[in-house]
Amino acid sequence: MGVVVGPRVIDAGASLLSVLISPVAVAAGYPSPAQDYFDGRIDLNEHLIKDVTSTYVVRVSGESMAGAGISDGDELIVNRALEPVDGSVVVAVLDGELTIKRLRITGAGVVLQAENPAYPDIRVPSLSDLVVWGVATRCLHVV
């Protein structure tokens, strides 16, 4: 048994190509067929955060978005670079507070919708009156 680690450098013409050797114990004799497929473990950052620079994580306080599967205490991944569109779950600035709502842009106007019948919708005169802080892309819900 031997453990192979560390990169090996192959001189491929002008450029040096570095090859990652997977840190798997290699049995002397018969190589594991799975080894060819080792590509690193799943990295949640890579899958859940598309743009690190523009992404923040916030924590939800309250139940007004329960219908969208967002509960009190959940964390939201919020991307500030995204353009909010009709249907986006947005963090908006309302009365100096960060507030989570569903954005509805229709012919009849702009509405910040709660996803819980116990909470009222908020009508906004126009999109330019609304300060959208970011667009939520994922909810980390404790099950």
Binding site: V58, L76, R80, L98, I100, V131
Partner: protein, 432 residues
């Protein structure tokens, strides 16, 4: 008539900086601070280091001690915050990363400002500046201003203009402004307003009839070099549109490193100062190692408060190190040379160390005889690894070690949450 391509593509320099950086970083996560006077206090809640425009309008000077402001804070509706270095550091890194997308030639000049090499027609450059401003504001959440000009000095000036004159809407491309207006600005501004002219030089410039930036820009560079310095000559040439201050990959005014801080509770014993010196010795070691540097000289100092005129004491000691080193044990030992000069019973309000005469490590191989045993055993790297893994204060050398929370650590009573770096302190969004 089209200009020759060469003219169109002369590289220019964009200077970008965040408006009232610390206050803006706080506002990005606490919108209730918008429109209110906000100040951010220095280490240990000492004095105002950042003032929002509303706080400036109240007449609070830069550097005003907090104890002088505090009595009126409530009446003003003023919000004072402790320096949240982790937040500012993260926001700064985001701004710089974003700016780096606009140019391969980015010089991070300070925590909140950068120079970028940019190219294009005046129209394209103005559009680029506006895009940078809008994108940083939207993606990161803080406001910036942009100045674009042929030289760094002019780019800084253009930025200042963009900040102070609302007509620019935060973006000024120097060459696009009519020459008469540029001259008018330079005539109005004193030389002290220009980047690179220190206060003490202003008098000497005035003595030879140079008062405004315009005067300086029209001075003879050779005369200026003879009477002042090459540095001042560069400023003149830059004002005339000739780039002379090169872009640096990393600005290392790093011929010195300083670790200094004022204490929440004054230290009155040599034993207390000893502990402080031990911590700074280790911090200096870690910083030097990070930059691949070694120091040859260490200065240690302490002092009583400026606000307490009796019983003053400002001991300091300069220790030449036996060889260039980044060894934590050696640095700590050197810093302890201050201890015999500490007067027991005096209330020391601050202390620090400075390491100078820095050089790249391994540049000069020391004689084996003088090689440091601790460096060889990687004590510094080990301490660093443990600190990274288990947090600051989890391990330390000797007196700087793991004693229970010393009472001289920074006072930060008005600290906002570390919104972006601590899972327990995430910004709250209301679902109500």
């Amino acid at each position: 008539m089209t200009k020759p391509a060469v003219m169109r593509h002369m590289p220019q320099i964009a200077h970008v900086d965040v408006n009232c950086f610390y206050a803006s970083a706080e506002r990005a996560f606490n919108p209730s601070l918008e429109g209110r006077p906000v100040i951010v206090l220095s280490n240990n809640d000492g004095c105002a280091v950042t003032r929002s425009p509303e706080a400036k309008a109240l007449g609070i000077p830069m550097g005003e001690p907090w104890f002088k402001i505090a009595p009126r804070a409530k009446q003003w509706g003023l919000v004072a915050l402790s320096s949240n270095y982790e937040l500012y550091g993260d926001i700064s890194a985001r701004v710089m990363e974003l700016l780096g997308r606009y140019s391969a030639w980015l010089e991070v000049y300070s925590i909140d400002e950068a120079f970028l090499g940019v190219k294009g027609t005046p129209h394209e450059l103005l559009a680029l500046g506006r895009d940078m401003k809008a994108t940083v504001r939207r993606n990161v959440g803080v406001p910036v201003c942009v100045g674009i000009a042929p030289t760094k000095t002019l780019a800084k000036l253009a930025n200042k203009w963009a900040k102070n004159n609302p007509a620019f809407d935060g973006v000024c491309h120097w060459d696009s402004v009519p020459a008469a207006d540029r001259e008018g600005l330079m005539r109005r501004l004193s030389v002290i307003e220009i980047w690179g002219v220190a206060t003490h030089l202003t008098k000497r410039l005035n003595a030879i009839g140079i008062h405004s930036i315009l005067d300086l820009s029209r001075a003879d560079p050779v005369m200026i070099r003879d009477r002042f310095s090459v540095v001042m000559m560069r400023t003149v040439l830059e004002l005339q549109g000739t780039p002379c201050i090169p872009m640096e990959e990393e600005r290392i005014g790093r011929d010195q490193l300083i670790f200094s801080r004022s204490f929440a509770t004054p230290i009155t014993t040599a034993a207390g100062i000893r502990q402080v010196m031990s911590v700074y010795g280790q911090q200096a070691s870690a910083r030097l190692a990070k930059h691949g540097l070694q120091a040859k000289v260490l200065t240690a100092f302490a002092g009583t408060s400026h606000f307490n005129p009796k019983d003053t004491s400002y001991p300091s000691v300069c220790v030449p190190l036996p060889m260039p080193t980044a060894d934590p044990v050696l640095l700590t030992k050197a810093a302890h040379a201050l201890l015999p000069r500490i007067c027991e019973g005096i209330r020391y309000a601050r202390a620090g160390i400075m390491v100078t005469d820095l050089r790249p490590s391994g540049n000069q191989a020391p004689l084996a005889l003088f090689e440091n045993p601790h460096e060889e055993r990687h004590v510094g790297t080990l301490l660093e690894d443990i600190t990274r893994r288990y947090g600051r204060g989890s391990i330390g050398l000797g007196h700087g070690g793991i004693r229970g929370g010393p009472d001289w650590t920074m006072k930060r009573d008005m600290l906002s949450p570390r919104y972006t770096t601590h899972w327990d302190e995430l910004p709250l969004v209301k679902a109500a």
